[in-house]
């Protein structure tokens, strides 16, 4: 009843091709952005910023990066955490070694560095596919972490190999409160998500999808495989690289190469699988699910246990949390193998017919 496009006529191509062709979606998006940019900073406390919202946005960005590569271009990758590491260390080096460089510039350069590294590790994709490519990108995961540990230059000769990032400052303004950091991350993530959404609707995105669906056919209709695949690797690594820089600068404040482990790559991969492969929205939903559900369970379980007078200690809670989390992942994948984004889409279709489904 409320979610119906009756009476919304499109009179130009531009109107027909916009990102949200339905008016209700546009209003919803504007409300969401207003909530994220205005309401949240006014009401949320520092726990919400530092432990929930900032990591959520950062991992959503990394998942978005991986989704471009795996979901849209069909190249399975297990190296996302490594590309994040490249971004983090590159941003750190630009900041430390170039006096007075604005932090945005060093983040952009860090993204480019990650993109360069991504292209190199994307080269095997020209020959191998599927699971074999996943194994090849696994090499990136191990090689990059090894490299960052091996060469002290990359961590500015820190005796422990751990980097501790400088303050984030731009034009004399210091992003030192949780709110300002949140807004900084939110702005970057929103812009990059908008760019990604437009990219996947453009020629580039359609070429990626053609390659994903059948690369021989794509080649026959004139898409250059090499450029397309390497571009996907570059863009994806750029996103991961920026996410890594944000992870180091705005979230943890200090990172070591071992922190960007294979576990983290898997986590990002699970985000897009649960959220929805080949969907921008799915990256956000997946990141929220994988990141926030454990925290929610962690807080809710002891409370529930106390309510029914069960003697839970924190170790038991962790074990139960893992089990519930695993069970929920399986539940969602059985109910909807295409991820949470698909659930949302089905919900929208149902709403359009409501209350008179045929």
């Amino acid at each position: 009843m409320f979610y119906r496009e009756t009476g919304q006529f499109k009179t130009s191509y531009a109107a027909d091709q916009q990102i949200f062709p339905i008016r209700q979606d546009r209003i919803g998006m504007v409300l969401l952005l207003v909530a994220a940019f205005v309401v949240v900073p006014l009401i949320a406390g520092s726990y919400w910023f530092n432990a929930i919202l900032i990591p959520f946005l950062i991992f959503a960005l990394a998942a978005l990066g991986l989704n471009i590569l795996t979901g849209y271009a069909g190249q399975l990758s297990l190296g996302s955490a490594a590309f994040m590491a490249v971004g983090a260390y590159a941003a750190y080096n630009f900041q430390v070694r170039i006096e007075g460089i604005p932090v945005l510039v060093s983040f952009f350069l860090a993204g480019l560095t990650a993109a360069g590294v991504g292209i190199i590790f994307g080269l095997p994709s020209l020959r191998i596919k599927g699971f074999y490519l996943a194994v090849a990108t696994l090499a990136a995961q191990f090689f990059i972490v090894w490299c960052l540990t091996k060469f002290p230059y990359l961590s500015n000769d820190s005796s422990s190999g751990v980097i501790s990032v400088p303050d984030i400052a731009m034009f004399g303004y210091k992003f030192d409160t949780p709110q300002s950091r949140y807004l900084f991350v939110l702005t970057l993530v929103s812009l990059l998500a908008l760019a990604a959404k437009n990219m996947v609707r453009s020629t580039t995105g359609r070429a990626w999808m053609a390659v994903r669906d059948m690369d021989v056919a794509a080649e026959v209709i004139g898409i250059r495989l090499m450029q397309t695949k390497l571009l996907a690797f570059a863009v994806s690594s750029f996103y991961c690289g920026v996410a890594g820089a944000l992870y180091a600068f705005c979230y943890l404040g200090s990172v070591e190469p071992d922190g960007f482990s294979l576990d983290m790559s898997f986590k990002i991969l699970f985000m897009i699988i649960v959220g929805g492969v080949g969907s921008i929205l799915g990256s956000f939903l997946g990141a929220a699910f994988i990141l926030l559900l454990p925290i929610f369970l962690d807080i809710a379980l002891p409370w529930l246990a106390e309510l029914v007078h069960l003697p839970f200690d924190s170790a038991t809670v962790s074990h139960i949390q893992l089990m519930v989390f695993g069970a929920l992942i399986m539940f969602f994948l059985i109910v909807e193998p295409h991820g949470l984004a698909r659930l949302w889409q089905i919900g929208k279709e149902k709403l359009r017919l409501w209350p008179f489904p045929h």
Binding site: P55, V162, P166, E256, D258, D298
Partner: protein, 437 residues
Amino acid sequence: MKVKQLVIAAALSVGLLAPVLSQAAEQFWAIPSYRVGPYGANGQSFYGGFIDYLTYVNMKGGIDGVQSAWEECETEYNNAKGVECYERMKSKAKAFPGPIHTMSTGISYALVDKTAADHLPLAMMGYGLTSAVDGSVFPWAFPLVTTYQMQASAIVKFLKDKNAGSLAGKKIVFLYHDSAYGKEPIVALEAESRLGKFDLIEIPVAHPGNEQGAQWQRIRQEKPDYVIMWGWGVMNMTALKTAQKMGFPRDHMIGSWWAGSEEDVIPAGDAAKGYMSATWNVSGTGVPLIADIQKTVYGAGKGNLSDTSKIGTILYNRGVSAAVASVEAIRTAQAKYGNGKAMDPDQVRWGLEHLNITDARLKQLGATGLLPEVKTSCDNHEGSGKVKIQQWDGAKWVVLTDWIEGNKALIHPLFKAEAAKYAKEKGITPRDCSKEK
């Protein structure tokens, strides 16, 4: 039936949720602990000891009448989870905090800046950011008792004493876990090798270190006099077993204090016999305090550990030592700011910075010999730098030496330099320690 009972219990408890009682001010300890995950066994012992001591102090009337309350949050030794835990608990700790112990180098690195910004005291006892010894740059971080660098230097001193005062011309292999933890002591060992004119060969082991064939092959070729090992978790027992296989004498191997607990040697079985390690706290229930905790706390059924065989292990006693030093810091603060009161963050920080745990005080506590004397100040947040060397005789750790102090004159300037670099990168203006009272 069971479900029904649960439902009834739930219904009852909702009805009976008592209003929060107004209580006297308590000292709140935020404890980001880990009891599951790859290092869960280590965390269980350490935090078991830590919490048992807090319970013990509470049962004995509190810290000069102030009771302690605490909350645990499971970090799984994971940095991101550690940060989440810290953020979750910090608002509760804002009023009257106890020092925060993460027992993880990674998490403490991530918290150094955050605790400084939030004005909460962070303790890193035997791990963490070692340059925080320089309190002028790190007012809120305390690498108490001793650091990796001082430990490495003390081990070298021990070896020197064993070799009639000189290691010149000897060959020492440094076998280390290739992470922040393993790399920290390298600068110290390099400085020692230049000073003592011995050959130092550094051999890294990639995490987790359950395969060390190549490393020990190299050690066999090099034929070193000693192997100093900086291992953690599964790497330790693998090293001991591989050394046995390669025929390297274990009584020429010395581990760091994270490579010298029962959890490391018992799984290695026979291969661990004769192996030595450094430690800043002794093991066993022979220490009166540990025996008293066992009697008082476990006697009353309030013990934290379900597996009581861990009481008196190295890591359990380390947890107790960490709690002892933290509680003493609060007592120190109380002596200045008011006995019988709960201490706020600034006062606890002052207490940590003016800690003076003498042997006489340790004796009063029943902790003689459990940990070394600790005396901190603004430029020395470490306060001791002493370790003992212990040897595994196949059934228990036998302490071989008295407290050995590392070469402070050589090592402390390294911290200063590192801290100055940190201050420059972060734009911190160091405090003037001569003005601190």
